[in-house]
């Protein structure tokens, strides 16, 4: 009997030790981000979860409904629980309003990686690096694509180079970066911005904004349209078509982010877009976490996801190797009505 008790005790101790050692080995990540119900963020969450599992990290994701107050509360709950992870991933709903929460996270001594929104002067001191998209790069690439389309039009004897911009809300942080980069890219060309409308995000607002802008600028002539993302541009293209414009012939449309409608590019109604993959962004975040945990620092403080141009000619061949080693085609990388 005594022998049996001893054996059971040994088994129990071994079991506890095994659990403790496993817990000690598996490093953990807590990510604060927007809701999975939003298509882009849903793909991002898929990226961080799958890659974290692949790399052997435990990950907990706290989603907020684009609400900084809700995200602040989640931060307080995690801190109050007293069990801190090895790394925080921080995608603020509002980078300025969320500065207090970021400071609270940093004060715990746990390293914080900021994602999606570029660091600013206030929050740089609290993070060890940035991983995410480059608003400027994608806008610049869109500008270069439009220059290329304008040059081709001119070479073919065409005229009319007025550009209508369908923007993010002007109060949104990405607007300034995008419009400035786009303007720099088209500077010196024949292209001339005649209107900039900021109805809001998404296809419905893109439609409504474009419809009003057409009323205002149709007499001057609208020859090119730049959409700050494809969802907005998709709505804009519908409005232009309803107004009688033949897309691809009368008006050349260029977007970014590839979160709109792939079929528009296939049909020649949209000249091109730039790739921005939420899946890749999630994978990049985990890669940066892994690099930091191994080396104690990042080779590069700022780490952008690639934003290559996508047009009808390269659409079927564009692919990116993910940080999980797999090769992803464009339908998996893009969001919106691309398959994602």
């Amino acid at each position: 009997m005594t022998t049996l008790k001893k054996a059971l005790r040994i088994v129990a101790i071994a079991g506890v030790a095994s659990v403790v050692s496993t817990t000690a080995i598996a490093q953990s990540i807590v990510s604060f981000n927007g809701p999975a119900g939003e298509a882009y963020i849903g793909r991002f969450i898929k990226g961080i979860k799958e890659t974290a599992a692949l790399k052997g990290y435990d990950i907990k994701v706290f989603e907020n409904q684009f609400n900084q107050a809700e995200q602040d509360q989640q931060v307080q709950q995690v801190l109050a629980a007293g069990v801190l992870p090895d790394v925080f991933i921080w995608w603020p709903s509002d980078a300025v309003a969320g500065l207090g929460s970021l400071r609270a996270l940093a004060k715990t001594g746990v390293p914080v990686l900021k994602i999606n929104q570029l660091p600013n002067e206030q929050d740089k001191q609290y993070i060890f690096g940035y991983a995410g998209p480059d608003d400027r790069l994608r806008a610049r690439n869109a500008g270069y694509m439009m220059r290329e389309a304008a040059a081709a039009k001119k070479a073919a004897g065409g005229d009319g180079f007025n550009v209508l911009v369908l923007s993010y809300p002007h109060s949104y942080g990405g607007y300034g970066l995008s419009i400035n980069a786009f303007k720099e890219a088209i500077a010196g060309s024949d292209l001339n911005i005649i209107g900039d409308v900021d109805e809001g995000f998404g296809q419905a607002n893109g439609y409504k904004g474009a419809a009003k802008a057409i009323a205002a600028h149709r007499d001057e002539g609208i020859h090119f349209v730049y959409g700050m993302d494809d969802a907005i541009l998709t709505g804009g293209i519908k409005a232009l078509e309803e107004a009688g414009y033949k897309m691809g012939d009368d008006v050349v449309a260029v977007g970014t982010v590839c979160n709109g409608d792939k079929q528009l590019i296939e049909e020649g109604k949209q000249f091109g877009t730039t790739l921005q993959s939420p899946l890749h962004e999630g994978q990049l975040a985990i890669k940066m976490v892994e690099e930091y945990l191994k080396t104690g620092e990042l080779e590069n403080y700022i780490n952008f996801t690639p934003n290559p141009a996508v047009t009808a000619t390269n659409m079927e061949t564009v692919a990116l190797r993910g940080f999980d080693g797999k090769l992803y085609g464009i339908d998996e990388l893009c969001s919106g009505a691309w398959g994602g």
């Binding site: 999975a36 119900g37 939003e38 298509a39 849903g42 809300p169 002007h170 109060s171 409308v197 900021d198 109805e199 809001g200 995000f201 998404g202 296809q203 419905a204 607002n205 439609y207 409504k208 904004g209 419809a211 009003k212 802008a213 057409i214 009323a215 205002a216 149709r218 007499d219 998709t234 709505g235 519908k238 078509e241 309803e242 107004a243 009688g244 409608d261 079929q263 049909e267 969001s335 919106g336 009505a337 691309w338 994602g340």
Partner: protein, 356 residues
Amino acid sequence: MTDVTAPTDDLKFVQRIRRDYSPLVIAMVGLFVVIFVAGAVFTDDFLTWFNIKTIIRDAALVGIMAIGLTFVTLSGNFFLLSMKEIAALSIICFATLMGADWNQWGAGEGDPTTSALVMTFSVAFLATMIIATIAGAAQGALIGLGGNPIVVTLGAAGLFFGIGSWWSDNLVVSYRRPHGAEWLGTGSFIGDIPNITVAFIIIAVVAELTLRYTTFGRQVYLVGANRAAGRATGHENFGMAIKCCIIASVCAAFVAVAFSGQVSSAHVNYFSSEFGSSGDMTIMVIAIVMVGGNSIMGGYGSTLRTSLGAIFISTVDNMMVLNGFNSGARVLAVGLMIVFSIIVFALVRRGSRAVE
């Protein structure tokens, strides 16, 4: 011999205004009319056929939803706070069925035949309307049984959104063109007037005629104005709540179908982030009902007022875009318009009760 004492029609009109409305109301409305007319005259490209079409088209989707919601409000059942979630569930249902294989209705390789397009659309449309009807009836029954409309419809909102999210796995559900919903989303049968604009006008007219000239319409006002009187005359709120909630739900589903037809896709968040200055379809729709001067307590108002409220908000927004205002200023203006309308209608109704 000329009767010099008889006032002209114009004088009659002015006298009636002065008799029926307080100087404050006349001053407020007069000032607004002056500003509005000046804005319309001095805004380039505002008074053009193209822009007027744009304004009404802009108002169409939220307007149709608001017309449906007006029935609920007039019947004294407050608001359906689940309007955008009903639309979200409906758009997922519709797009999922629109993405079904065309060939099952007889098309061969390549583009689908017209009959295949019609069949796909018909099945998807019918299924969507059935789901919307069930959603409306369930909420109406709970409200009719005495449930608080706010609590019932907030709960229902979560339920519908959750089903839509789960069904679509939070992804965009897309289907390829050509498809059978293009005629509704982007087509135009009457000249260059979009079909959705025509649908808005038809729905507005039918709804107004229904309220004014049918027994059902009068019952809506009766139950809304005085529930006890309605009950005494055999018109219980239970049946009325179900009918009105079904009308609102079906209108929301129709908007979902039209919008999906326009963008050839669906996502549960389309109605949470893409409509109106506030970015929230339900809030926008409620704002339109209020701007139309409908009584939140029921029994007073009309769908015509709601339709004009939708066009009014769209007009102010349009004028500001043409004058180069960005989104922040426009959100402010629309908010002010809503507050202004509520104050004016409250003053008018207080004045009319005093006259009574």
